[in-house]
Symmetry: C2
Subunit: 196 residues, 2 copies
Amino acid sequence: MPIKKGEKYFQILDAALKTFALDGYHRTQVARIAKEAGVADGTIYLYFESKEDILISLFTEKMEAFVLELKERLSKGKGFEEKLRILVSHHFGLLGSNPAQAMFTQIEMRQIDPVINKGISGPLKSYFKVIEEVIRLGQSEGCVSMDLDVRLARKMVFGAVDEVVTCWVMSERKYELTSLADPLYIMLKAALCTTK
Amino acid sequence: MPIKKGEKYFQILDAALKTFALDGYHRTQVARIAKEAGVADGTIYLYFESKEDILISLFTEKMEAFVLELKERLSKGKGFEEKLRILVSHHFGLLGSNPAQAMFTQIEMRQIDPVINKGISGPLKSYFKVIEEVIRLGQSEGCVSMDLDVRLARKMVFGAVDEVVTCWVMSERKYELTSLADPLYIMLKAALCTTK
DNA sequence: AAATTTAGAATGAATGGTCATTCAGAATTG
DNA sequence: CAATTCTGAATGACCATTCATTCTAAATTT
């Protein structure tokens, strides 16, 4: 029964993030993670069930922190438009300043396989929920049409943000991700708002 | 030197598509593709350099056909708005009626690794170019602002379409993908057009 | 406070299963 | 009968996982 906490738990997760970002999930050997973390190969299995479990745990930890901070920031914004702007700039801000995490979420996490997928759907859904809540706020304010399919709109928002980050990662981060937050926000607002 | 044509070449690609969609890239053994294609294991290596090469070739073939047909259809549409609608509905139409291909492009192709990535960037870029051309047409018609960042707009369009397809695949195709083409088109048009 | 016991944490070499790939020979073709 | 295409059993590299052993430090005893 793996121990899901303690200093070494996070040490291993940190090492995994670095190594996955550098070499990709399938290419990194568990032994390398162990080395990077400064622990023995076997120690990994005291904290994690399997290599896959490391991937899932890493994603879950990062995503939970991401959503928590996003909620925090959103609560400080007033109204639909300001919240939408916060959403986009928080997403870009966090990944923009954590290249390894960006590499990981955009590229490595897509190494999908049914098992992994089940493991990550929870935390990802909680992010989707936040986006949908913002859109619903827009509806209650009258800015966004009540006829709009909220789930579809959420897919558009997430898809757009996600694609921009992926391209940025692929470009080897040649430009500032955050500089795209505002222009993207403007387009998304136009897509959602009936009223100019 | 692998032969990149002939009956068996396509037989193997068909078998690979089926198997990748069913079991995922990393889980499918080359031997299974061979069996499915009705050829010997070794024959695969007369037509392809490696397992990875099968993946890349498959994507390239499918993408080239996709773009070719898209261009064909676009040429029949008049004006920015009609072309944008064709773009979205062609994307949804093709993947909506080819579940295995959808599974493959949305899920398996993301098994990214630098080598694979280089292999697919060409054909994917040609799709991006088509999208950008449509947006530029909108600009020349005056519907889309000249100040709009065309590449960013392309990322939004592709990202949105792509995310909707991914969700549809993940949902195990419980609903009609094509039914989302129109509402998505309307949002994207609103995002891009200055004039209502 | 020294000696002893104990539990659990940590180690890393060894294991074993999994496939991608090869290649010597068989079959087919022209 | 050469050339070409195909075959599939054999190979060997790879690497996640295991587990017998060692270490550590707290608890207990003398």
